[in-house]
Amino acid sequence: MVATAFSLLAPMETEEAQIARGLRRRDPDLLDALIAQYQHRLLRYLLHLTGNRAVAEDLFQETWLRVLEKGHLYDGRNRFVTWLMSIAHNVAIDHLRKRSLSSLDEMKDPEDGTPFEPPASGPSPFDLAAAQQQQEKFHEALAQVAPIFREVLVLRFQEQMKLEEIAQLIRIPVSTVKTRIYRGVQALRPALKGGLQ
């Protein structure tokens, strides 16, 4: 679907340039294709950031509306996913300000102790149960990590973004990104050691 949407555009352009051109025209087919392509990554990022599925889904829609409205600002020089995540980051911050919360942690659903679903694969029921337990421990520990560290961990290890991209997205120096990743990993160490052994 994405490939079809892109192939309708000029073939010599880079994918980012095609997206930038489509966003300036508010091309509905391109937007549908982008939503389909980035749906899981965006929701996962927002879910990790907020810890609340309902809030994350609201912010998911809000992010795409902002992409539509601010699409002309994307110049196609950077990866689209970096720009998309920076929009999501700003939407989450705006949401936080509107609700006058003192930290991202306050957005967690109090009734939802385990915000993330465990992986649905495993070679045996025992392995599955062990993996599930390990995942639960890990995510409990991750939820305890300060949001500023959690965000960079998710962007670096889950979304596989470069340090420079993360720095650009959050608007902080690369050295700060490295420090936050280091401190985030250190904060998770007890859970990682306990969970993986």
């Binding site: 929701l43 998911f60 829609q61 795409w64 509306l65 490295k178 993986l196």
Partner: protein, 170 residues
């Protein structure tokens, strides 16, 4: 081992997996990790964090995707309509400005013609006719501004422009 070596190792560990690490750097890192328990521990932590984070199965529901796509299409139509109205307003403004300028010039000339016909000083009649032409508009503007009740309802204007107050703030 120096702090510089640890910093280099941490930088390479943090970058590896996503960014390209050159072969000499990879060899150096391997030898450093063999000698430094602290950096090896960090490398292990990064690997485990990545492994566990990537194993998370978070998916957007088809209903959410469909709702988002439909909301976006509706908003795109709204924005297009809003843009068309803005263009209309801009064109109207330009036409209004042009016609006002032209008629002001014509009234000024008319004042000159009257002064010539009546043998009166043009320096008095020309501005006099011009002010007489402007006066009704000035009186209406002052009355609107001085009125305690708003003559123009902003919400009606905003609704006509296709913007609710929430949208206007954004």
């Amino acid at each position: 081992m120096t702090n510089r070596e640890h910093e280099r190792a941490i930088d390479l560990i943090t970058r590896s997996g996503v960014e390209d690490v050159s072969a000499p750097d990879a060899v150096w890192l391997e030898s450093h990790l063999a000698r430094c328990a602290e950096c090896a521990d960090y490398a292990d932590g990064c690997a485990s964090t990545g492994q566990l984070l990537r194993a998370v199965a978070v998916t957007a529901s088809p209903a959410l995707v469909a709702a988002t796509q439909s909301r976006l299409r509706a908003r795109a139509v709204e924005l297009d309509e809003q843009r068309s109205r803005s263009i209309l307003i801009a064109v109207s403004f330009c036409i209004g400005t042009l016609s006002s300028t032209m008629s002001a010039w014509l009234w000024w000339r008319f004042g000159g013609w009257v002064a010539q016909k009546l043998a009166l000083p043009a320096s008095i009649v020309e501005p006099g006719v011009f002010v007489a032409w402007m006066l009704p508009a000035v009186i209406v503007a002052v009355a609107i501004l001085a009125s305690s009740h708003p003559v123009i309802d902003r919400t009606v204007t905003m609704a006509w422009l296709g913007e609710d107050q929430e949208g206007a703030r954004q």
